[in-house]
Amino acid sequence: MATTKIPSSMDPLLDAAADAAPAGMETVMMPVGVPGYTLRQEPRTVPTTEPPVLPINADLNFIGKSPERWDGHAKVSGQARYTADIQLPGMLYAKFVDANVPHARVVSVDTSAAEKVPGVKGVFVIQNLQGSAKLLNPSLDASKYPIVRYAGQPIAAVAATNPQIAEDAAKLVKIQYEAMPFVVEMEQARQASAPMVFPGPANQGGTAGGGGGAADVPQTGNIHGPSMHTRGDVEQGFKDADVVVESHYTTQVQVHNALESHGVVADWKPDLLTVWASTQGTASVREGLAGFFNLPKSQVRVITEFMGGGFGAKFGPGNPGVVAAALSKQTGAPVRLMLDRKEEQLSVGNRPSSDQTLRIGAKKDGTLTAIHLVSYGTAGCGTGAGCAGPATNMYEYAALRTEENDVFTNAGPGTAFRAPGHPQGAFALEQTIDELAEKLNMDPLDLRDKIDRNSARRVERQVIRESAIWKSRNATPNADRGHIKRGVGVAQGVWYRNISMDSAAEVRVHQDGSVEVLSAVQDIGSGIKTVMAQIVSEQFGMPPQQVSVKIGDTNYPVGPNSGGSVTTASLTPAVRDAAWQAAQKFLASAATALGTTADDLVLSKGEVSSKSGKFQPVSFRRAAAKMNTGEVSAQARRIPDYAKSKYETYGGVDVAEIEVDMEIGLIRVKRILAAHDCGRPMNPTQTISQINGGVIQGLSYALYENRLLDPNYGLMVNPNLDRYQIAGSREVPQIDVQLIQSYIGQSSTDASGIGEPGGIIATPAAIGNAFYNATGIRIRSLPMTPALVLTALGNTQQTKETA
């Protein structure tokens, strides 16, 4: 048989490694690096049960291609059922009663009038609030009901036979408050005299999506921190520097605002609680509900057939899940609880603000001698405003100190939001690096080449360097004369390889030649269904649309919670392993009837053939008919990465071309070129979609989005999608994505994540650098509205800065 493979004995690297492989393990050569730039073969020691090494995308039929989205037709034709589409017999509709004051003790909750409304079947008053930070010593504000710490905090909920009745009755729940002093502005909250949001130390853990703040840190007034990290001798680092750049940046609070709001349908039956949830983690919802109600996990089933976006805010049951389940238990009927847009804006998370002072020292040649970041940020009555990720992980430096502080305010708790902390951190870091480059008289890309050894990023910078958009950049800032000034800026982002070991899949092969793949994983829009189908297709040779994909149900093998960009990286190796094992079982099952033994059979490109030529190749379907059983199946779970120590960060480099209308302070983004790596792109179109989305969300954050709280009353003035500004069709520029295939040899699919690294981290900073290139002025705050831009340009003096 002809082969282009190098026999292992001719490969000294492989031979050396093979000698060392322990029992049950073997050494294989895997593609590593970027095709066209750095591709090479490296040895990896893997379990002997692993499927054969997957070649690079160019040599595959289905993986690495972009078949149409597996459920695209169902979505665009309205057949897809989202949580709000679930209709169960006798289902009730629930509506929250939300606090309309920012800080208060609840003296009493009178539900009697609401209960009397015809059609109302139950009222539930919350005793255990989900989401906010918790006092270490709860007795400090012992109270019958949770203390209201932000306007919009849910207090109770009403379940009724239709949504209108529930809404009307919710207004009849009478809450008596004892008002407490409040503070919603971070600057004020930092003052020693500010009202205290918590009477003592309080902590908020992260979710499966990350976020959350440091727990073992001091707390003084509303300041929770600093969380300190030091590497090397920072003082010495600054002494060694030839150049030091220091600057101060602030960023606003951004709200996730996924198109589909948070919500669940809960159906409590004596032996099973079934919950349909708009969630990024069926597993996290099951775990949360089982824990809250003290139920065995086996008696909680969570279903997420389709979901309309989460961006990090949808993990665990949260208040909606807990309350809907409690109301279902109480009323004996299924209960649907979907949040409205205002509740979505107020109570289910946000990206914390930041106030960063960043100092960087460098040698004349660009070598970084020290980085020092002091940050404050508010996650409302939660924690998790740290933003030191980029400063810590993007570049090489001799010494680093980061001091991150959370500042409590009377506002809704922050939660994980697409690359927690990173857009904020990169906005300051990447502009500071550009400032440094200017001081050192270096090209911004050359300086980054000097201080960033990451091999994929290096390729990305090369792609950028050779691009038309970068070549069109005038290295001299403020070069245009008219009132429209054009600028081009670059910035990069960094993200990490997170893997969830709770990732399993089952593949079943039926005698009729149909194949199905099952996992509890949910598809949050990134397209894991399609990718699962592609993997099975690669194994069995059938088109992806013919693979039956069943996900989003905890009845199936456990799936990862989709946070930290783990889904594709974690689950796809389990799917491939299961598909491979199922294929072996299928061959074994069909071998006798095919007149041979399993090891004589090969399944390739949808055909089963005999190595020894015992029969003419037959189609997979005809071979399946010869199985000696109705169904074979294999379940596989994620095994650890092959060579954990060998991975580098993922990320990307984005360039923005903007125009600044100097007279009205309007920034128009013309083009974004984004070069990104994410291991093996399993489905390039879907991967590019993620980056497009990240770029749009990033520019929307940079230019428009802002949660505005009235300082005098503590209420959000723009809890809608009219005055909470999000990029619309005219704001979206031409976006070009250059996907870098960056093989790292870590798993049977070698896939990585893209949801967080793509766009949202680097785009805002690239726009900031483009603004400087256009105008010669640094913009150090977000969002860059006309008001802010005119102020930065020195055209306008505001008495008060835009909140």
Binding site: N100, Q164, E167, D168, D661, E663, I664, G665, L666, R668, L703, Y704, L708, D710, P711, N712, Y713, L715, V717, N718, N720, D722, R723, Q725, A727, G728, S729, R730, E731, T785, P786, A787, L790, T791, N795, T796, Q797, Q798, T799, K800, E801, T802, A803
Partner: protein, 342 residues
């Protein structure tokens, strides 16, 4: 949402006979339903006039043009007569809101839509315009609020079409069952908060706005409207300008310069108009007119010139630019501004 009765009408008389007992008129409902959803308006009866076909249409006449109250913004923005001779109006209707909304929203509803102040639009704030005595914007968040002529309430006039119609000297026809028809000039349609904080316009509860009549522009008239926002799509004006120029060759005989988002009631700028009268239109005169607009004398209140609030000084920068660029657009000396919204 509160419970209400919906009465669907197909004739003007039918609708007029329903306008009693706190009934509220619903045209396309873009503004009204928004207020009902956020709880600031809780009508017990809605009289739906959307299906009165007699109120929909654009009717040219030798004297000018009459537009039915239910004509959509999209229809107005595309009508050949309007785009050529009443460009300020087709511009205004074509840049209001979004394409989806323009396909629904009616001219009458656009003129009569209520304030966009976020305190007014929140059921949690009981403000001056709701009959209480406090305005929350002065000490609160006021980046989108008024910079001129505001007195007790610095909300801004939300209607783009009103800017155009004021510039064109239009009037509205109001009809009631009891008193028949009356004609009110656009300049007299709105009630300034200082005059009566809870009455937004002169309509009586039993009146319908049935038509808008625009006199034929003088020979040599050129006009334009442009709106600026924080975003270019799906946003409200932070500055806007309506310009009507009566030209004699390159000399401007007479100009109308109108602003919406500067003050609670849409207003002319006599100062800007004076700068242009009798002068050729050049970038210099156009800029001078824009600048003069911010020095405007008192119209509705005793306030002299632009007096920004704590967070909206930037708007004093924006209006002169909006005005000069729109003058040049009207005069044919500049293309449509790529920075404009709509």
């Amino acid at each position: 949402m509160n419970q209400f009765v919906l009465v669907d009408c197909t004739t003007v008389d039918g609708a007029l006979s329903q306008l009693n007992d706190g009934s509220v008129v619903k045209a396309a409902g873009v503004d009204l339903l928004d207020r009902m959803k956020n709880g600031t308006t809780t009508p017990s009866r809605l009289v739906n006039i959307r299906n009165i076909s007699a109120l929909r249409g654009i009717h040219p006449s030798p004297q000018g043009v009459t537009i039915g109250a239910l004509t959509t913004l999209a229809e107005i923005s595309e009508h050949p007569l309007l785009t050529s001779q009443y460009t300020i109006l087709s511009d205004a209707c074509g840049s209001a809101a979004t394409p989806h909304i323009r396909n629904m929203a009616t001219l009458g509803g656009n003129l009569l839509q209520q304030l966009q102040c976020w305190y007014f639009r929140s059921e949690e704030y009981q403000c001056l315009r709701k009959g209480k005595d406090l305005c929350f914007a002065f000490a609160g968040l006021n980046q989108y609020h008024a910079i001129m002529d505001y007195g007790t309430c610095p909300s801004v006039a939300p209607s783009s079409s009103a800017v155009a119609l004021l510039g064109l000297n239009a009037s509205v026809e109001l009809t009631s069952a009891k008193r028949g028809k009356r004609t009110v000039a656009i300049k007299d349609l709105y009630v300034h908060p200082d005059a009566n904080p809870t009455k937004f316009n002169v309509l009586e509860p039993d009146e319908l706005l049935t038509a808008v009549t625009i006199p034929r522009p003088a020979a040599g008239t050129r006009s334009a409207y442009q709106k600026y926002g924080e975003k270019q799509s799906n946003d409200w004006a932070i500055a806007d300008a309506g310009v009507v120029l009566e030209m004699d060759g390159n000399v401007c005989r007479k100009a109308a310069i109108v602003m919406g988002a500067a003050s609670p009631v849409v207003r002319h700028s006599p100062e800007a108009e004076a700068v242009l009268a009798g002068k050729p239109i050049t970038e210099e005169t156009a800029r001078a007119a824009g600048k003069a607009a911010m020095q405007g004398g008192p119209l509705q209140t005793a306030m002299q010139g632009a007096q920004p609030l704590s967070m909206n000084a930037y708007k004093v920068q924006l209006f002169p630019v909006a005005i000069y660029r729109t003058i040049l657009l009207a005069a044919g000396q500049m293309g449509r501004d790529p920075s404009a919204a709509g």
